[in-house]
Every structure is written in C-alpha cells, then in structure tokens.
Symmetry: C3
Subunit: 655 residues, 3 copies
C-alpha cells in the first residue's frame, strides 16, 4: 500500500475534496494527518476544536482513503510553554534552555508534560478510536530528533537521582559500581549526584553510561505513557512510531518499540547520504548524490523491520524530491523514487508513504519537495509513483511474507554508548563500522537481520556482533544456543554493565565462548593502522587493535607486529581489530562457504544490490548505466529483465 503525509490545517478546506480525489486517483490508500496540529486542536487553554479534523478525515474517507493519526505532541503550543516554561529541555553542552520556535521543545523528564501529552493523545484516541476510516496511530513524531534525548534540566537531574536510587539501592553500591573512589568522586547521598556535564574534565565513564541508560529509559517511559493513553481506545487500530535510527538519537530503539504493532521509518536517502559521505571526495560523492548510498536505505529498513516481532515496517515518510536540511540538497535521479519504494517493500515494508502531499510554500520546509508543487501542479515524482503503485499492486508486494535472512547482525544501544563515552581513538566510529560490516554482507548478496541479543536468535546460521561491548552470561548462553557461527569484532565483551573492565580482563563473559584475554588495546591514526595477514594475503588494519592472548584459541590471522588479528574457538571467531573492506568481504565469503553455513554468495559491484522476500529476488541498480541482473540463467522475471537499466529494478522468482 502507498500513502502520503497530509496537513489539512495548512490549506483551505476548499482544497481538501480535490486533494482527496487526486490522492485516490494516484492509487494512494493511506493518509497520515494531525501530527503537528496542537495549536489548531487547542488554540488556547481549554479551547478544544476538533471539528476541522473531523471534516478533513470525513473528506479523505469519502474518497476511500484510510487515515493514520499522528499525535501532535512534538509541538506543544506557545501558550502551554509560557504557562509551564519548565517543560523546556536544557542543552547539556551549553547549559542553555532550548526554547520555543521550532519543534520538540519538551523534556522527557517533565512529568507535567508527559501527563499533558498523554492527555491530548488519549483525547484524540477516545474521539477517533471507533472511527472506521482511521486504521492506526503514529505517536509523536521522530522521537529524539534534533538531539533532544539528552537534557540536563533540573527535573532531569532529579529524575536521574531517582533512577540511580532504583538501580543501585545504596549510595555505597553506586560509589563502588562507578569507581568513585578514583578521584574522590564519592557521594554521601543520592541527592548529591549531578548530570555528567560541565565538569572540569571528563566525568566517570560509569556516570556517563548511567546517564545514557537513564536518558534512554526516560524516553521509553514517556513513549509507553503515550501508547498506554491510546491503546485502550484503539481497538483494531495499530500503533506505530516513525523512528530515527539509534545511531543518531543514542536511544535504545528496541526498548522504545516495545508495545508498538510495528515500527515506521522516515526514509530520506539523499539527505542522509550527504551527511554520511560528508568527507567523501567529489568524485566518490557524485556517484551517489542523486541515488543515495546503495547500502544506506537497506541498512535502515533492516533495522526498522527487526524492531518489533512482527518483522514488518512502514516507510512513513519517503523523500519524493529534494529536501531542505542536508548540507547540499540535490534532486533524485529519475527513477529513484520508484526504486526506493520497491526497495522498501523488498526489505519487508507493508506501506510506503510519501512526505508530503503538497510542498508548503511557507515555514521551515518550503524547500522540501512534495508530490504536488505549491501551485498544485504534479511534481517530478508523480509519474514514478503512478508506475510503482501499479507494480506493487500487481505483484502484491505488500502481502508477501517478511524476509527471512539467515544472517543476523547484533546491535546494542549500551555498546554504542560505551564507544561514544570511551572512544579512545578519534577515528573509531560506531556507526560507520557497523555499516562497514553490513556492506560486506550486502556486497556478497546476503540478506541480514539487525537484531538485539534479546531477540530469538535461533534459525540464523551466522550471527555477527561487530562490537558488543557489554555482554551478559545469559546473552552468551543465548548466542551459544543459537547454534550459529558467531563473529565478534574488537571491543566485544570489553566492559561490564557499569563500564568497567571485566574481571579476568576482556572479553569478560564472552570468555565462555572465546577463552582469550585482551591484554591491551591501542588506537591508531588514519593511515597508521598497519596491516594484517590472513590466508597469505595482506589487508589493511585501522583505528583499533586489541592485543590478544589467544590462550587455547586458534590464531587464524596476525597483525604486522605478530599479535593475533583473528582467533577461533569452536563456532566463535574474534576479530581483534578494525580492517579494510576487502578483508571483511573475503572473510565472510570464506565463512559462508564452510559446511554448516553453506550460504551461497555473489560478488556484487558496489552499485548493485539484491534482496529476497516471499520467493522473489529483487535487484536494484544504483548505477547510472545498465547492469546485468545477478540472476541465474533462465530466471523467471516478474519485473524487468536480465539487463537492468540505470536506476531501475528487476525482480525474479527465487528458486
């Protein structure tokens, strides 16, 4: 199903019927509305006005469209802020209050605001809970976007103290857990604890990790209150949220997704590629500036799909033209809106919804394309959406079962926090190394789930944890029980739950699987990382190097200084450093070919990717030239053919 984001409050009601008709004509089935409309629903204290929204929904429903209502809690109006200015968050880096005038100006630790936000969510849910045209709910919008997870407001500090009391019980236990004796940082009472910002030099890693855990918990707590406000009235209506990737928010999206029916994602490939390739040379960047990086959308789709047990997801917002928020904002290459749409379905989407119906001629996003231009004319993406709607309908793509990869990559918010808190080397970057692993799998034509250690891990043949810094005995056991081949990257098992070095050294609990010891770790500047030797071939190393005492484990590769680069113990492998892309690709190809895994691999160019869902293989050509589909001879194509034109797609039946 395809949909669109619509803001009836931005337009004259006289336009609504025609808008609804044109949406239906385009083949759209779903319209998301309402998400920022608090000042229209409640223009003044106590003045509730919902007639206009009733009318808008009626108009859309009359055209056969289904409605998803976004709660407007990301934008409390000015009168509310002026009445309760302590709703505003405080920037940890500057200590300044973050004010009104845009969006997301609230503190997750404000109990008052949580109640107010739950209140308006419930009010809407009571009103539309039984509405036939309303099929679901989106809570808030892009929680924690604009770096709003972290706040050091007075109420956040008070809540943090409570959180600490709940976690540690006694102040002595906290002092012990955080190693506060180190610099006389010991507290006599929980009320002495501050947020770990603004100190003379770095605060204790355990203090910072606790604050990150607290922050993530506060967001999840806030979100659960929203879900709880809606659910009793929702009946068959689903509840979802359009997530920002946790690499960016620093919040545990698995925790945040609990209680939702499925996760949604807002897909802006060009804006994100501009940011991700910020340091790329012009020549390298130019290849993908109008297509997005071929592994970027997929990486976020695979994350989104795996956030809930449903293993489905929506693209709630899909870029249909240039956006306004990256450092440069090119238009998409012709064909890409269709390609991105099909790619989402290939990775498990059940709905793709474009943002937005009509480009707004005013306010912050007026340089952001829509399906219509401000003068109501059809914008560039229109014919592509027309075409892809028919294809999706004919191939019933939305109804295919979810993808079932044999490979899982483990991501973990606490591990991300650890690497951000204790970077140790400036060139160590959690997100880019995660993507490096992901790209290695994808370049071999492999599908990947992005999972948490708390997920059911059975059924995977290969589970890869590029950096699982904190790992419990229970998690080790679950990994072992999965029966999968296990690959751990450097720093895995490097920390306890309170960000200390484990007893008996790293990899701590992981030593049950890998009886090695990390004697020391070093970090290395770009270009100074040396090399590693594996199976007679030299590869580049970089950034991070664990010095491993292999103990009884087998050493499969060594760094230039002779220390182990890759060790194996039974089903488990430990990679002791970061490497170049060729090594990961060669190593994973080698693993996949081993008996027991037996996963066929391909050698795909970096601008061609495949995905499998429901008995179909999808191939996406990100290149500006035609490329052959990596399909077997005589493949049965249901879309396209053996030679895929530039920026086009082929689909054939999997055998």
């Amino acid at each position: 199903m395809l949909g669109v984001c619509y803001y009836p409050e931005h337009w004259s009601p006289a336009l609504w019927p025609d808008d609804a008709r044109r949406m239906a004509d385009l083949g759209l089935k779903m319209v998301r509305i309402g998400e920022f409309a608090w000042s229209r629903l409640e223009p003044k204290p106590g003045a509730w006005q919902i007639d206009w929204l009733d009318q808008a929904i009626e108009t859309l429903a009359n055209a056969g469209l289904k409605i998803v209502i976004g709660t407007p809690t990301a934008t409390p109006p000015k009168w509310l802020i002026d009445a309760h200015p302590d709703i505003l968050p405080v920037d940890p880096h500057t200590g300044r209050v973050r004010g009104f005038g845009s969006r997301r100006h609230y503190d997750f630790s404000s109990r008052l605001y949580r109640d107010l936000a739950a209140g308006i969510s419930e009010k809407l849910a009571r009103h539309y809970g039984g509405h036939k045209a309303v099929i679901g709910w989106q809570t808030d919008n892009e929680l924690c976007c604009h770096e709003t997870a972290l706040s050091i407001s007075p109420q956040a500090v008070v809540a943090f103290r409570d959180w600490c009391r709940a976690r540690y019980g006694t102040i002595a236990a906290l002092n012990e857990a955080w190693g506060n004796v180190f610099w006389s940082m010991e507290y006599n009472d929980f009320s002495e604890i501050e947020a770990p910002y603004g100190a003379v030099t770095e605060t204790a890693p355990a203090h910072r990790l606790a604050f990150r855990r607290f922050t993530s918990d506060q967001v999840a707590l806030w979100h659960r209150a929203m879900i709880a406000a809606i659910r009793p009235h929702a009946g068959d209506q689903f509840i979802t949220h359009n997530f920002i990737p946790m690499a960016e928010t620093g919040v545990d999206n698995f925790a945040l997704a609990r209680g939702l029916d499925f996760a949604s994602y807002d897909n802006y490939p060009l804006g994100r590629t501009d940011l991700v390739l910020a340091d790329a040379g012009a020549e390298e960047f130019q290849r993908f500036m109008r297509t997005g990086h071929p592994d970027l959308g997929a990486w976020t789709f695979d994350q989104s799909r795996c956030l809930t047990p449903s293993r489905q997801f929506w693209v709630m917002e899909q870029q249909p033209g240039p956006v306004n928020w990256a450092r440069h904002n090119p238009r998409p290459a012709s064909g890409m809106v269709r390609l991105w749409t099909l790619e989402a379905f290939a990775h498990g989407a059940t709905c793709v919804s474009y943002f937005r119906w009509r480009q707004a001629p005013f306010a912050q996003e007026q340089m952001h394309a829509g399906l219509l231009r401000p003068d109501h004319s059809e914008a560039e993406a229109w014919p592509e959406i027309k075409a892809v709607e028919a294809e999706i309908r004919q191939l019933k793509l939305a109804d295919l079962p979810a993808p079932k990869p044999k490979i899982a990559m483990i991501v973990s918010a606490p591990s991300q926090w650890v690497t951000e808190i204790e970077r140790q080397g400036d060139s160590y970057d959690h997100e880019s190394l995660m993507r490096q692993y992901y790209t290695a799998f994808r370049s071999l034509g492999l599908d990947v789930d992005i999972v948490s250690t708390e997920d059911d891990l059975t059924g995977y043949r290969l589970i890869c944890a590029p950096v699982l810094s904190i790992i419990s005995e229970a998690e080790v056991e679950a990994l072992q029980k999965s029966g999968a081949t296990l690959v751990f990257g450097p720093r895995s098992g490097g920390k306890t739950a309170d960000c200390a070095i484990p007893e008996g050294l790293a990899p701590g609990a992981l030593r049950a699987l890998l009886p090695i010891r990390i004697l020391m770790a070093e970090t290395l500047r770009p270009g100074c990382g040396g090399s590693l030797l594996w199976q007679g071939k030299h590869y580049s190393a970089r950034a991070w190097r664990d010095h491993v005492d292999p103990g009884p484990a087998e050493c499969l590769a060594r760094f230039d200084d002779g220390s182990p680069a890759l060790v194996q113990s039974g089903q488990a492998y430990y990679l002791a450093g970061l490497t170049d892309a060729p090594f990961l690709r060669d190593f994973f190809r080698h693993l996949c070919a081993l008996p027991g895994l037996d996963l066929p691999t391909l050698d795909l160019p970096d601008d061609l990717r495949i995905s499998r869902r429901g008995g179909l293989v999808f191939a996406f050509n990100y290149a500006a030239k035609a490329q052959p589909a990596p399909a077997p001879d005589g493949a049965d194509f249901v879309l396209g053919s053996a030679m895929i034109p530039a920026h086009d797609v082929a689909i054939w039946k999997d055998i």
Copy 2:
C-alpha cells in the same frame, strides 16, 4: 583632498602643534578627530570637559587644516555602563551579555542609550556647529562592526514585538504571514513572540526574516536619531558615516545612509583580502597578499558611491601599512598606498583620509601602522602619500564629476537575508557570488554602479540582479521602465516579502517580465555541479540550480540534464544556476556587443583594472611586473605611460 585620522587625546598637547605642521607639510587638508573620546569629554557623570578638544581643533585649524568630528558614541564609558548595564547587547548565539572592555558595547534597541548618544552628539553639534574649521561630522564609527547589529537583549525582544505589531496589525495576520500553523507555532498575542534564536532546531524563515528586518530598522532608527541631533546645528557642515559593507553587517546600508550627505568607507585592502581569500592556496594568495585583490577595493568603492544620491564618497580610513586584525598581516607592496588612493578617486572619492596619523604604542591597535611610527619617524607610506598628493592636486582628481557607469548591479539587503536564512546549500554564498558577477564586468573593462531597486534606474543599458530574492510588482515595473537589458541570477523572485514561495511559483512578480516557473531548486557540492552548454561551448555549473519551466521564454543554454540554464524573454534574461567565471565573462561580453547596449569591452588580465571618471581612464596594475596599459594607440597620458610599472597607475584621456 587627502586627510588623516588623529586622536589628540592619545598624545601630550605639547606634540599637537608639531603634528599639525607636519600634516600640513605632507599636503593633508582634513583631520578627523574625536570619535572615541567620550571618557575625556565626560570623565564622570555630569563632568563635561571640552577645553582640550577646543585646543586641539584650534591647533589644527591654525595650521590650515579642516576638521571632521567623529561623535564618540561607539564607546560609552564604564561609569555609564555601570549605571545602566542594560545598555549592553546580548549575543544571539550564546545568550551572553556582551560586556565592556573594547567598543560598540551598546544595544541599538536601548532607548536610554539612543537618547544618551543623541544627547552627546547634539552637545558636540551645538558647540562646533558654527566653527569655521569644522567642515563636517562623522556619526559614531563603523556601525554594526564586530557583528553588533544583532542582539537578543530583553529590550530588543520587546522592541521586536512592537515592530511586529506595527507591521502585521493583528496576531492572526502575523501567524498567517509566517506560516505559523506549520509546527503549531501560532501565537495568541504579540507578547508571546521571542527572538528566533535558541530554539531546538531552525525557527521559521519568516520569523527570522522579520527579525533581520527589525534589526536593520533599529540600526537605521538609531542612526537617524544621531543625524537629527546634529543636523539642526550643522549649517553647511556635512554629515557622513564610515560604513561597513552590508555583506558583513547584514544591515541595509541604503536605509542607513538616508539623511547623510555622502557615505564614507574605511578601506583596508590587505586585511580584507586575507579574509576573503581565506581558503585560497598559498600560490594564489601570495599574488595579492601585499596588494589586495584587484576587485575588492573597487567593489566597496562602487557600493559606497551609490549609497547616496550625491554619487560621491570619502575614504575615511585608508590602510597605510600592516594592520593588526586579519589572520595574517603583511605589509603593502611598495607603491600600493599610492595606487589605492588613486583608485578611490577613480571610483568617485572626493577625499581619502589615512588611518592613522601616528601608530599608537599602546592598546588594541599598536600593531596597526600609521603615517608616523610611535617614535615620530616617517613610516613607509609617507613618500607615497607625498607623491600622490601632488598628482591629485595637479590633475584636480577630487573635483572631477562622479563616474557614470552604463551598467548597474542591484544589491538588496532582504535578498541577502533570504540567502543567509535559507542557504539550502553550504556552498551558496551571497557575497562571493556578487563579487563573481562584479569581477566578470570588471574583467571586461566595464564600470559598474551598485544600486538599490529604489534608485533611479534610467540611463543604464544593462542592469544585473545576481540574486534579487524578493521583488515587488513596483520594482518589476521600475526595472522594465528603465529600458535596460535585464539579467537575473538564480533565486531571483524566489520569495515573497515574508519569505514564502510566491503564488504561481518563483519568480513571482518577475513573471511579468519572465513568464517562466521555477519547478524545483537543487544545491550541489563543490565539484559536483555539472556543466552547461551555451553557444556550443561547455562551462562549469556549481552550487545552485533552478529547474525552469521556460513556458514561452526562449531557452539559450541548457544544463547537462537538459534543463534550461539560460532563458530570455524580450529584454530580460534569467540565469538558472551559478556558473564558472568564464561563462559570466563570455555571456556579458556577448550582451554588451548586442545592438542597443553597444558597450565596448576589453579582455583584461586579472591583475589589471581600469576605471573612468570625468573624461579620464585610470589603469591600475596590481601585478608585480610591468604591463601594457589597455589604452588606444596614441592615447594622451596625463599620468604614467603606455607601459605601467609594477604596482603603478596610468591615466589617459578618454575619447
């Protein structure tokens, strides 16, 4: 006439007579004094001391020198600030009060300070209004320098609310104009409005544009109060101000100049070149590090000349040696002080005044050269000034009529604000693209006026608006009426007065001249801009690309993707993107050769420039080697000759 800036209060009165004598001996006629001397005029509350200034003026006048008095309002003394600390401005980016200890520590929205500043200005005007030796007044000093236009002090916010009330009448009108419905940013009352800083993410463009308009208006209002305080007592004495270019202050200098007799400019070619060429490679930079960029002084002179209907200007401060405030501060090449002086006259100056008489051995500018060194010896520029004084006198350069270019470039503060508020691409820079256009004209040997749309536009053959973002119907009409060929750059007509996309799409009101539609705009990284094809030749495109529906207009050039790069409708041309320098040069050369324009062009190297004034052609050789003057055979040279030595000047009679 030549002059000098002098601070008698910095020196023992015993030195004044000899200083005056040496000034006169050097041929100087004018001395500017007084501009920072508040603490000497009013050392304590109510203690007025003007005897010393009387004596200094008397001493200078006795040597035959004329006086320009700078009012000391840029430097309120500490006792005044301590008595009224709310005079201090507040930094919008940090929220910190900007304190005492340097200069310009006042808020343009402080009514109290405006009254106090007008008070001391009037007091001086009353005292010296009838003084024969006093020929004029300089208000304050370099208004808005050090980024002091913007302030978010409490009084600025209150004034902004009043300004909004005056502009919009009702809060509903403001909400509508700003598109505040977008993110529930709607207000119920003007008292709810804040300055558009410190919000969680970007504030509304209309909000920001309003604050920029307000800020500029506040500065102009403040300045008008100063002029009003002086004028009644000034008699024949002129009033001027030494402007900072509006590219830097973000204030509408046309508005600020209203009420002045002429504008002045402080010319520091080396310091400014260091900043403008901040990213240039060493080899490129080295060419101009001791000369200044050849188009930089001229660009500011042409702006200064056109700020008032008089079409004359002063250089109130001219760098005579190294300065102290750029990132690196080289000495000028030998000959350049003379060259810069002649160049100012060529562009319409009637006085060039050097800054400063004697290098101060103390305080902030002790590394800033003067005409004398701190030990009273003659500094490097002395003989050059001696020489140029004679040349100016003999050629009567100061008395020549103002230059009368046939080409006008339109600049507009609101257009500058729009591009700063909504940059859309990091490589889009308003000032550098304005200079790119200017350089193209100058490289063809053409003289240029830099005008506002409110100026009289008749008489120009070519009017070029590199980016006139906001344009009214009245302005379109004026442009049309001028009869000139019109060239508009990309983004022209892109916004309404409230920073929205015009109805019927860009270029809005300009569609009366150019019946095209801008369907979309995209921005592109350096090196990723693609190309355009014009008259069979390929040029580089860059940074910004409008996608044009040409309608009935003729398409003269296309981008690599086939979309129109240059369209023409009658006398009007629309250039849809930014380009390389060769395109602009070739395109303008082509236009100038068309019947009706018929402007002869030259092909000048980038280190040679010519200017015309009063029947003379001036040629300035910025190169370190001799170059032939671009003069016709048998030209009648009144200065120099057909081969211009390094860093030298030739002048011949125009035919």
Copy 3:
C-alpha cells in the same frame, strides 16, 4: 632510583602486602600515594580517617619501600563543594561554572579553599612529618592541568581588582599604563575593572597581560600556602610538585617552583607527541607514534631540571604503555619504556616513577596502562623496567652530578603571554618555535639548559632567547655580564612590562646591546614567507618578519626584499624573522665554531640524540633500525656498543 604511583584506596587491603612485595622484587624503591584520596581521608565533614593510609604505608615500608605523599587537594569531595559552591571556577570563554565530577574543580582565588587545602595538607604533614618511611611530599597534582589556571569567578574578579590596586597604586596610573584612553576604556575606580573576557571585541593587551600576570601570581600564591603548610613539619622530607609545562598552563613555572626542593614532571611521550604532531601527515607521524618525538621528552626534562637551583628533577609519572587521553593512543614500541627511563636520567633525573602500579579497571583512566594489568598479570613494560633498574643501579646513574650545558635557552612566561595575547599572525606559535630552536641545538649534539633571566647566567657560552618579548634593563645587564654570545629571535624586546611598544621602538631596553630599531612587523601565511640569504645560501623564511633599521649593527643576512634578516652587534645577534630548520642549524653550527664559544658539534639524524651527564655520553636511537653511535673511535662503552639497535641506548665515557 625507580618508583611507582600507587593508590591503595583503589584496592582491597588484602592485596597490599603482595603488591608491596612485587614492587620490591621489581627493584622499585619509591611509592607515591595519597594524591586524590580526600574522600577517604575525610568522607564527611569532620570525619577524619587516616588509619587505612597508616596501614598502607606500614605495609609498603615493611617491604623496604620509601613513600612520597601526594596531598589530595586536586580533588575536594562533593560534600565540601556542596557546602561551599563558590569554590568552583568559572570558564572565561563561556562564563559557565566548571562543576564537580572529575578533578581540579577549584578556583585559585577562593580564599576559603586555599585555607581548606592548606589545612588538609598541614594535617597530613603533622601526621607523617616524622615518619621514617616517608621521604617527601608532592603538593596537589599537576597544577593548572585541564586549563584550570584561568577563572573569572566573582572572587577572581575581586582578587584581580586588589592585584591591580597593589600593582598600579592609583587608577590614573593604571589607565595610563593600559592606554585606556584609546577607546574610552578609562576607569574612575578599581572597582570598575572586570576580567578581560566577554567584551564585544578584543580587550586591551595590557588588560589581558595584567590578568595573565594576576592569574599566574594567584596560582603561585596558592602553591606557596601549600608549601608553607607542609614545610614546618617536613624535617628532612623534600617537597616537590609534578609540573605541567608552562606552554600548556600559561603559568610561570619558575615562580611556581620557588620553595620546592626540586621539580617533578609527568612524562607521557606518546600522548604528547599525538598532540604536538596533530597536523603531521600519516607518514611523518608514523615514525614517532610509538616512540614519541625525539626532542619532546628531552625538552621537558631540561625545563624541569632548571626550575630549581638544585638542577635535578624527578619523573613522577612515566607512561609504561598506552594512555587514554590523546586523540589516538598507540602502544609504545618495544624498548621505549627503558629508553625513556634512561633518557630522563641522562637529563638529570634522580628518580623515575611509573604511573601506575596496576591498571584501574574502573573510572576515567581504565584504558591507561599500568605495570600490572587489572588481572594482576605483568604488563608489557615489566621486563623493560626489570632490565633498566639493573642498569641504573650498576651505573649509579641516579648519583651522577647534574648535567652542565654550555648553552642556555631563555624562556619567559610574560613573553609567552605577549605572543598569545598579540599573536598578529595565526601561524605564529610560541611553543613550536621554542621547540624549533631547541631541536636545532639538539640536532648538533648540544646540551641545553632552559632558564629564566633571573637565573645565574654565568658560565654559559651561548645564550639564546628565541622570543624575549619583555626585557628589563637589569635583564639586559645580566645578559651582557654573562659574557656569553647572545642570540635573540624576532619580537625580542618588543614590549614594555605593560604590553606597549617601547619608547624609541623595539627592541627597547635591548638597544643597549643591539642598537637597532624595529620599524614594522609583518606576518605571513604558511607558504608565503619568502626567503632569506645568508652566506650565499637561500633559506625559507616564515610567519613573522621584523623590519629592521640596523643602525650601526652589521647586517649578516637579508630577506628577499632586502631588509635585514640577521644583524650583529658585538656579542649579540638579532634574528629578524622565523626561518626554516636548516637555517637555525647552520647558524648555530657556525656560531659554535667561532673562537670563544668553541663548542664541538655533530650532525645527528633526527631520530638519534645524545646527552651528557657526569662524564658519560648517552645516545638514544629513536629509529626502528640500528644506527651507529656518534662516539669517537675507541670509545669506552659502559652500556651498549658502537652500533645501537632500534629503540635502544648506548652509553660511553666522555673524554
């Protein structure tokens, strides 16, 4: 003697005896303890607990170890800060209070804290003053580390006003000295003075210099209170402090060292090299990333030795493996811990103490190596320390007399402040140019003292002042009396004590020795510095160029523009600009060969260095390959031999 830093409070007392035994077994003789333990000594107001420390000392003493007690004043506990929050310093750049949560969270201008800190220091001194195993005291820890010298807290501003009153007597004298007339900055009373931060643009250089002097004085005053608290009880026990180089703290370390028995230094070659070579290319950096830059340790050792008349120093903390605080943190190359240790002794150390005994598995420094790993196993440096301990013992290196260089380099905190306050060119960097001079001497195989002008200068043959900005007549006289050849770099004598240009121009008082005048100074971008010609050879100039009127002095070299680059008058030389390394090396080699100096020089590669102490010559091979020792034929080697292996040392008898 070798030692180690130990934190018994971090470990179970059950571990102490075994730790003590292993220390003794390794040959360590000294243990530093106590420095951050305030929260254990005084866990709550008035609750004094010293039994645990008694027990720890007893345990160590029983193993034959000597104790140095570090006072815990760098880490006041939270209860104390909560009771007196105005102890906290205020960041001058942001105006924010710098809070609790790490270390050094106190303001040197807090009288209360000074008393509290002196109080606990005295309490400890009373307790352990007579203890036989306690051989000395370390005050606080790394004073002013983490940029804590500067604070603009209310109490700092009040203290600054008092300091100004004491220095200038009357406000008129201060106004005159600071040149406050310049921008109406004149005060009527000392109470009007603020810290020179947060103004609209730059504050007066004299104001800033005064604040730097004040800041340095406050730190020294604070430190003297600590020494005064300990000394009466210390008996034979020494008092030292582990200094941060003044290049980093901006504090006058000579003043700070007064009253100490000797200075100590914390030597972290890899971390510091990462910072110093921050802009180096990968290839250049890689050479020294595991060894440290060959002149960096020596440069700090020579400074430390010369801080007290004893001309000895300790390395109180020596890096034994990777650290945690640089931008990247590689491991040391094998052999380097031994090399660094021997190098410290060669430069005059009498004790090298490793930081720390056992790597902490918790808190801020858990990625910082120790001699033991957290699991009690011996870390990488262990065998090297074992080896070097025997060598030091056998060669009695700790008992050798102090080095006696014939060359002195003058450093001066006020000169450093002047160049930081008035940089004038971004590429002028005080510390890197000091090191450039130092490297030139060291590359010639010369030993260098780093002295203050207040030191006894007799006995030196060559005294070099790379930039002695402020110089008094008395200092000039002392330099002249020394009888040494004198070399002054550019900017020398450039300022009065109040940061003004001296009467009669620079070099001010230095004109008694060098009868020249600096007419002008210019600064030049990297790559734009031109060249100088000396003895027929061209060298590169850079960054800074004084324009010299040589007067009767002889001009030995000229810049490309003909102005003097090097002038000589009698025994004194003035170098008018910064240059490349070859010029300094050639020039110093030339000087050393002159009659009267007669200092033999070598030509050492940049990865080989020699040092002399007590009749021995030490050679340190920083290269990854063997290199010949620069020893005379038939040299008598007491360690190593004529070919020095990679990262190894040779020692032979000086003849």
